[in-house]
Subunit: 288 residues, 4 copies
Amino acid sequence: MSRTADTWILAAQCPSRLGTVDVVTRFLKEQRCYITEQHSFDDRLSGGFFIRTEFRPPAADFEGEAFRAAFVDRAAEFDMTFELTAPGTRMPVVIMVSKADHCLNDLLYRYRTGQLPIEIRAVVSNHPDLEPLAVWHGLPYHHLPITPETKAEQEARVWQVIEETGAELVILARYMQVLSSDLCEKLSGRAINIHHSLLPGFKGARPYHQAYDKGVKLVGATAHYINDDLDEGPIITQGVEPVSHADYPEDLVAKGRDIECLTLSRAVALHVERRVFLHASRTVVFDR
Amino acid sequence: MSRTADTWILAAQCPSRLGTVDVVTRFLKEQRCYITEQHSFDDRLSGGFFIRTEFRPPAADFEGEAFRAAFVDRAAEFDMTFELTAPGTRMPVVIMVSKADHCLNDLLYRYRTGQLPIEIRAVVSNHPDLEPLAVWHGLPYHHLPITPETKAEQEARVWQVIEETGAELVILARYMQVLSSDLCEKLSGRAINIHHSLLPGFKGARPYHQAYDKGVKLVGATAHYINDDLDEGPIITQGVEPVSHADYPEDLVAKGRDIECLTLSRAVALHVERRVFLHASRTVVFDR
Amino acid sequence: MSRTADTWILAAQCPSRLGTVDVVTRFLKEQRCYITEQHSFDDRLSGGFFIRTEFRPPAADFEGEAFRAAFVDRAAEFDMTFELTAPGTRMPVVIMVSKADHCLNDLLYRYRTGQLPIEIRAVVSNHPDLEPLAVWHGLPYHHLPITPETKAEQEARVWQVIEETGAELVILARYMQVLSSDLCEKLSGRAINIHHSLLPGFKGARPYHQAYDKGVKLVGATAHYINDDLDEGPIITQGVEPVSHADYPEDLVAKGRDIECLTLSRAVALHVERRVFLHASRTVVFDR
Amino acid sequence: MSRTADTWILAAQCPSRLGTVDVVTRFLKEQRCYITEQHSFDDRLSGGFFIRTEFRPPAADFEGEAFRAAFVDRAAEFDMTFELTAPGTRMPVVIMVSKADHCLNDLLYRYRTGQLPIEIRAVVSNHPDLEPLAVWHGLPYHHLPITPETKAEQEARVWQVIEETGAELVILARYMQVLSSDLCEKLSGRAINIHHSLLPGFKGARPYHQAYDKGVKLVGATAHYINDDLDEGPIITQGVEPVSHADYPEDLVAKGRDIECLTLSRAVALHVERRVFLHASRTVVFDR
């Protein structure tokens, strides 16, 4: 049996205050829930508190709704927001791509084999290229071309797909388009982008060519929540790969693909396992 | 101010049972202690529970002894053992070495600059070579030669040094001698050895030469608690370093030095920060 | 243009002797070939010499056959064996699998997108499970079940596939069957296996479960040429991944998949780019 | 016997042209020198050629001067610059520091134990703090304070130390002062600085604090040749270390120390082993 096949997750955050851990753990005890893993962190500099608990309920017929309803008042005393996630939950997801297929291919593989607890509802792209890949996986593919003139309209259709599919997470798997402020705001905290550099180094276009010009000996990738400030959203994961003088820009592009895939899928896994907490411009990540 | 300059650490373990987290966190709340960081883990396969809490006490005149005394009964209900560590505590340590000085040098540097919260009380060696290094750092150096005939006697003197200095931790920083079962038992859970291989691969002598013969592409080091079963004690940390065909055995020895130092000092830091829990033949490590 | 789109590769090895580099480089100069990258290594302990040269020919109509014919006598003076590889060469390959699909999926992706200069001619398996994956990529799939009684016969059919497809390399992408000595010998130096441990640690079956029992803090994978001595063939690449106490055996299995894929595909890339030289029980690898 | 105890190094570079490898290897053959390891690289984009050869001479009484004199004309035909380095050569070095001692301590240890083939002639600092450390190692310590007003004068005295000691390499081991353009130029290609970030990210002061503000999940260090453009000199080595939300700026400073030491000492080793070639704003590094 997999480690988490029978455990629920309670993830919560609130302003720092005496009793923040106790309000969670005492309630779990009262509910006769058995805590199998717990992390909490209090950010001294910003005054934020974060807690993530995995627990086994007292019986198989445990009612998440009743638990939630009973906890909501206690949480309110601490201005605490929380999410309760049942075992086996698969988060509904929309993936956005452009022409590069490596991240999409990697996510589809992990999805198909059950390695990532997600439910891909649709793939959206401004190009038709990756349709066969999506179709082979039995997924709807929305080809929504974009031009400067049609951007607003295209984004409206993108948003429609997200809404209609009930996607709780949007993964920008090398989408290569800058989202409008409006769409960024709608997707705040639930859209993860992969940037092919170690942000904040090499922001903007063609980061591997920038890296080549600087003669760096390491290239990397950064998965981050999008926000209105391009390539500046809160970082979730970063990965790195050594390179040498013998790597021309096109070699850096090729070498970077693996680390982009790993960095993005890692960030998605952490997000859907409720291990990531967004707090101003930073994240708290309770990794295993 | 450093992250932990004003935080106490409570580390505890006991058999798995409902309420193990609550008994700790409820008490801390009652004592008006503010939890800044907490990890807990319940080992499903072995039925062991482990918790580590960093907290700020309600006032500067917080009395550790009173806290301890008040908690001991509650802990007993759960067969829970615990340790309470005050901020600024420096664990008394004896370091044992042979002729190789890289790990000793590294530990002394971290000790001298306050990076490791330890108090080195003595350096013990079966060779005289490293005395100047110890002396420059103002440390007593006990040269206790060993032969097959004098092993029991030598170990008795080693034990005497440990006892007299009040050492709570013994670091075998490339000591290169096998301790007797008797001494292993006395030091159970409080002696850390560095082995220059990725255990359980290449147990025994000259692991880098074994690694060369096998043509491996990675060499490594393992820091572990010693036990009666040579090179089989519970592993705390492991580190790794890529090597190539151009590395002869003596190059592997040289390349391995850095990773040995890092792996050992990391294990010592984790131990003295009470992040390591020993449980049968394995460890639970709550890293940051 | 990609780095190697117009470069030929000359890879050679012979016993150590004065003039081994010169015999290669002088010839290239005479042929007006421009060396873009060269590595040579002389193994002091075993007395073997290895050289790999990438070069641009003087004109687009460069004749590999003529070059080969002209060099063969000079090479013979040094008992030198060599291979000349034209730009754009794709090595014919047969992949053998069992039920686990992660390595196959990874290789197919790299093949389909041109990242690996291979030409997959067939997929062979003792199970039917992965046929759809092969078929979607337009590849013949040979389901050749095996039992202790039919092993010889099954291997004969495997060998037939290898022969008929003209495969120069066989990739055991988690095939999970031990090949007979006879087949190992036939495939000497041209069959690469991925083992899911840091060999020589955890040889044999269920290495992740062995790793869990030992409480290691790193798991890894090893790609190696097969030979008659199970899990002891010459190592090409090794990869590693940190794990923790919170990873149960099934988590180690899951965590290991990525490093298995990367380690195997890296080994295949090195092999087909003629960067690996086999020499007794070890390899010389001229990585970029 | 160590790998390089009896091998000479010939390192050369010149503009790309047919015959650049041959001019070196033919000469070595004529001189009956046995090549044990060779790397060459031709940079397609910039048109530069680089070669590094380790060789064993035909006899113990091999005359470097005669070799050099005989090769100089041939090299001239190719506008080739070259350096010949005898086995056992220890490059004379001056180390410059400020108050932080970790890099100095690390370099002194490697120097003292013969791991780095350097001869430290002096330690220069704008502060008195590290004098005892230098003195224990038997090294002259020049305390040369600096103020905006006295900068020119101080640099003149620094230069005097470099000149008088015959230093061929200056190591800025966290010197924390910006050198004048004039001094940078004098030290072009022979002064290595360690910057505590993954350049070009986080240039300038307090990079760990910048990194904290950005919420990065990796911190790093960069060793580079200094040039007139602050923190923009050609990169030799880069290292990286994972960090988490629980690392405050002072924790990043602490965590970064190890990677700074390793990155700097690695760069120094590569430089003194003649593995680094400077070419415009980039380096070619022939690592093992």
